[in-house]
Symmetry: D2
Subunit: 395 residues, 4 copies
Amino acid sequence: MTKILPVDFSFQDDFPQLSRRLRLGIVGGGRIAATQAMAARMSNHWDIAAGALSSSRSKARARGAEWFLPNDRCYGSFEEMARVESRRPDGVDAVMITTPNHVHFDAAKAFLKNDIDVLCDKPLTNDCAQAQELEQETSQTGLVFGVSYVMSAFAMVRQAREIVLSGEIGDVCQIHVEFMQDWMIPEDVMKAEHVKWRLDPAKSGKTSCTGDIGTHAAHLASFVSGLDMTHLRSEMHVCGAPKQLEDTVFMMTRYEGDVPGTLMATRIASGNRGGLRVRIFGSKGGVEWDLEHSEYLKVNIYGRPDQVISRGHGHGVLPKVQRLVRTGRGFPEGLIEAWGNLYTEFAMAVAARRDGLTPPQSWLDLPLVQDGSKGVRFIDAAVESHETGGSWVSL
Amino acid sequence: MTKILPVDFSFQDDFPQLSRRLRLGIVGGGRIAATQAMAARMSNHWDIAAGALSSSRSKARARGAEWFLPNDRCYGSFEEMARVESRRPDGVDAVMITTPNHVHFDAAKAFLKNDIDVLCDKPLTNDCAQAQELEQETSQTGLVFGVSYVMSAFAMVRQAREIVLSGEIGDVCQIHVEFMQDWMIPEDVMKAEHVKWRLDPAKSGKTSCTGDIGTHAAHLASFVSGLDMTHLRSEMHVCGAPKQLEDTVFMMTRYEGDVPGTLMATRIASGNRGGLRVRIFGSKGGVEWDLEHSEYLKVNIYGRPDQVISRGHGHGVLPKVQRLVRTGRGFPEGLIEAWGNLYTEFAMAVAARRDGLTPPQSWLDLPLVQDGSKGVRFIDAAVESHETGGSWVSL
Amino acid sequence: MTKILPVDFSFQDDFPQLSRRLRLGIVGGGRIAATQAMAARMSNHWDIAAGALSSSRSKARARGAEWFLPNDRCYGSFEEMARVESRRPDGVDAVMITTPNHVHFDAAKAFLKNDIDVLCDKPLTNDCAQAQELEQETSQTGLVFGVSYVMSAFAMVRQAREIVLSGEIGDVCQIHVEFMQDWMIPEDVMKAEHVKWRLDPAKSGKTSCTGDIGTHAAHLASFVSGLDMTHLRSEMHVCGAPKQLEDTVFMMTRYEGDVPGTLMATRIASGNRGGLRVRIFGSKGGVEWDLEHSEYLKVNIYGRPDQVISRGHGHGVLPKVQRLVRTGRGFPEGLIEAWGNLYTEFAMAVAARRDGLTPPQSWLDLPLVQDGSKGVRFIDAAVESHETGGSWVSL
Amino acid sequence: MTKILPVDFSFQDDFPQLSRRLRLGIVGGGRIAATQAMAARMSNHWDIAAGALSSSRSKARARGAEWFLPNDRCYGSFEEMARVESRRPDGVDAVMITTPNHVHFDAAKAFLKNDIDVLCDKPLTNDCAQAQELEQETSQTGLVFGVSYVMSAFAMVRQAREIVLSGEIGDVCQIHVEFMQDWMIPEDVMKAEHVKWRLDPAKSGKTSCTGDIGTHAAHLASFVSGLDMTHLRSEMHVCGAPKQLEDTVFMMTRYEGDVPGTLMATRIASGNRGGLRVRIFGSKGGVEWDLEHSEYLKVNIYGRPDQVISRGHGHGVLPKVQRLVRTGRGFPEGLIEAWGNLYTEFAMAVAARRDGLTPPQSWLDLPLVQDGSKGVRFIDAAVESHETGGSWVSL
């Protein structure tokens, strides 16, 4: 069979031209699936080939038509999709899972069982045991299991990480991250179908805001600093209209090497739209990145003029970052391009696996099932701390 | 034959679901073609189906492989592509033309002749007569002929236009636009293949900077203000290293109703990357948009607090703009999404034509061949003014 | 004796013209004294008339010469200054106290005893009992005792407070404030005379960063929200080079009505210079102010375009704020002008007292000894919480 | 007589402590006089000692009371003031002239004749011959004649100039400056007394906007670039409500070495408050400064990360700039502090002259009568160009 990667490919900086597009299946019928599908197509590494877009077959077909799927590849369930696709010669190479949280585990298992690579939304599962089971399954099968911490795929986030890991800002001594949104302020938004499940413990899990955007924040902080979170203390609040789960969480945190920090996430912060901001301070300098101005990375070395690095080629942008660049400095990229980066790296990982190759760890920054599992543990720790009056809990 | 648009479609605010993806051909092998192809795929309205990506057949195939084109649809010339594709039952519905400027005319003609819709880069041609010929041909054939003034497809540029046309800022009394880039500062960049032709009068035409980014600026100013430019006086400069064509142009301008303005374009402005900024001032207020912060539109009504409208849903974003929105406020979109908007509107226009329908003018803001033709006249006027010591020239 | 305020003055919006400049004495010889003295002169309500600028009489005279003080009004101690000045017919009307923290109490008492109004640096004292004693003394004597929470005197902070108190952002539901500086990163800065005392418990008190900038942050949050802090939990850190007192503090906080919040203060945050930012979120909208961009107030009402109010006249600036405006919108004012505002209000209060009048509470926003006392309690609570592992402590 | 400067002063970087405050007289009764008087007091080098604040003696006294002037130093005319003050042993050392433009010449002459140093508003005069006469008079008398181009006294403007002069951005190849205000949009503002004269040719001279803010822009561009403007072509407009003089001017410009540029000034640009922005582009990089964000200087060297230098000590701020710094980085200064810088340098120049010393040119950046004279020539050239249809006029 034709190799997907070039035969003599050496896992250097640039991503190679694949010999064919990979085939992606969509599990989940919401807006986030649509965003990711656009990004996957834009990346030019994927075609949308099949979907389990609703448990109602007629809805599934209607939504499939949006992606121009043939009827026979619009499935009424992920089980059916996994079974049938795994047997087709042109079956999907991989699936994205963007269902409500409580479905992630079963869906992911079904595809792993059928030898299909997975890119799953966060939080990975609503339960640590399930997360560990997915880790084990992945490890036993050798399949690719990505987790969609998409914020880590912005070019300037990658640049930030490289700068911190290089030691340019000295020893990390404070880590602050916040994800301050405002879209849950109006009461009527909570009645929308795509919002309701996020406030329903049976679907969203033990938390709402913490699991949904808190995990993004936690992953981003660790990704940029290169340090795992080791302890946290948290308190959760319902700051807006009454709801079953928290809309706000504040934390004090500790990272490897006893580095202190804070983490905040809320959906009741008027005027903060994207609202995701990470700041890493070190003994010599600091870096700061803000989702709303995602093209610019502040790098301040104490004693020197402040610096701003902007996505593009040259002007301080590192080679490892430039392979993710599509448009020049000053011509903005955004969230879909970040998703495109994730789907590019996922494509490389899937292609390598199918070709029987193992890329060296340094080559891909794709978040994996282990990262997803840490996120689930983070949620559990946050709940445990909150319920014990804000005591320190280790992760 | 199946209609592409829904049969009962009424050309309201939202764009409809097409019954099939349209097939796009690529003419031109450079980076801008790649950007547009990504965007077309991302829009989900287009598949990349064929290409004339180089006059060398082997290069054409190698580049075609990047878009996973079968060998028989990687053509060695646009003439061949036009002839062959027009006869295939699954032939391309439309082409994008992203060659060096001097090729636009012949390429566009070849596709028009073969009943294939066109989206052509600006400047439309290097010659007014040619531009008029394309206008006539388009008008006679009833084909869709879009011109890729992509800046007008940013959501917040659309919002700006709607605000100005609504009268919210009063009577327009000043129009300023600048496109200040810096990438031509280093001498070695000018030796690159994709740059060289831009400084060669045989390919780029009478101007370099004026035709390339000056026309973008001029179109944007007219698009947002709703006013045609009627007169200009210009002076051109080589501000950086010596070159055959100008790298810098300054203008004083007049628009319909004798509204005065200025226009500047340069590639020797260190620290200005995207560098495109438009400001329209009226008797009651003003709007300002800046490509580097493309998600935000400043709207200042005299006497009130300043306002910032950000792309997304609600919070003042107009319905006509919201149909172009993919991600929520604060989750950035960028240039590729703007291209995606252009390709969405181009798809709607192509689908309507193929279905035998004529969308009302108010429905699409796609720049057309007439706009391209105005751009060519703008270039000629700029040259004439410069050569006569900066005299006023009418357009 | 001539009244200082106009005889028929009615305590409306505008501040009146005084019949004479007031005479200010300086206690303390550092840079903050100089900043305040410049501001007092700029306000045009004060002349610098006397000083206790060092305990060495020769240094006191040298420093007095910087303010062109005659030798006989350059005192070697505040006790002498209080005694002598209170007996001069042209003695000082008031003093500013800008000594290291541990001197505030004795100095303030000396002037209160001699019937001289006081404007004292924060933290008011290093001890709650002392703070209460000053409160009592002030209340018994009827003297004016201002505390220099200067951040509350920026015009746009005043505007923020008025907006929040008016209910425009709905019910306050989150309060975040941070004061993130970077100047203590280099080790050598800690050896400077004006820094050393800030890290010496005998002078600075139980805390360094918390008392110095944490109290600014706490006051600002209460001032803008109109809510007292009721509880806090804190943890203190030495994030930079080793030192006797903390350089960093993180808090979770509660305000009246059980409103939750966070507070952070550090001096080890590279690239954060002024670094003071307050954000108040309510059920309908939010306000945000940032010291580094002090001329602009963000006011976001959910569902509407974002608003920016800029200091000046009109365009949404409230009348109570406009009386503090010196230059038009876009012509920046800064910290010294904020100090000038504080000295203007202090002048009004001093003039009123000397004229035997009591301005209505709504007329002046000058922070008073009670506010200073709350700051001391805040420090004590922070220490108590930190020492008990971050338990909740009430204020 | 006691020297004002220290006897052994060597004109190095830091400004010395004067032995006495200088005495300043105010000529002109408007808001700009008040701003400058505040700044002069704040600088700590000046006391306000006398004034000719109105031609009505009763108004003169009322306004004098605002500055706590004794009645006998509130003059009804500048002639009287010049005559009387020059004979008092405690007479003013210098005057500021902030009258309407047409009074500058006579007032300045009166004080020069009486051996009193002058700081005069721009435009210096309404007539080139008068400007030259003032130049000559100044040169013959050896008096200090400053002109209040205050924008050149912002610390970060000084930093910009030093950077450009050092060659860090290479050879200057483009100079752009704009001063875009919006306060003349409402018709009623034009009826205000302090505005009316600005639109009356008998008082304002041949131009309004050009002379008032255009000259600021022109001086700033030359100051930062280190290059004189040699030629211009201009067109003037009334963009807002009808008025006798222009409210808007656009120019193309040339500077020494045939460097091209543009200059724009208007008062009909909604949302632009301060609206003054200068950009100097060179062969290696560029600098950009914006009055509304006056604390930050953008310095972009091609190929490196963008840099932002912020006013304060260290972090790239040059020693010559630091002597003008009052508050640390991040604690904002503003326009009054810039005026304070001008008054500091004016004080140094006045003190030196009175001590019989001549500071070396490199020590002071105070704009002088020659700079004022260039501004008058700039206005004349702008009018001549406009009246001849925008022809090139040399300065």
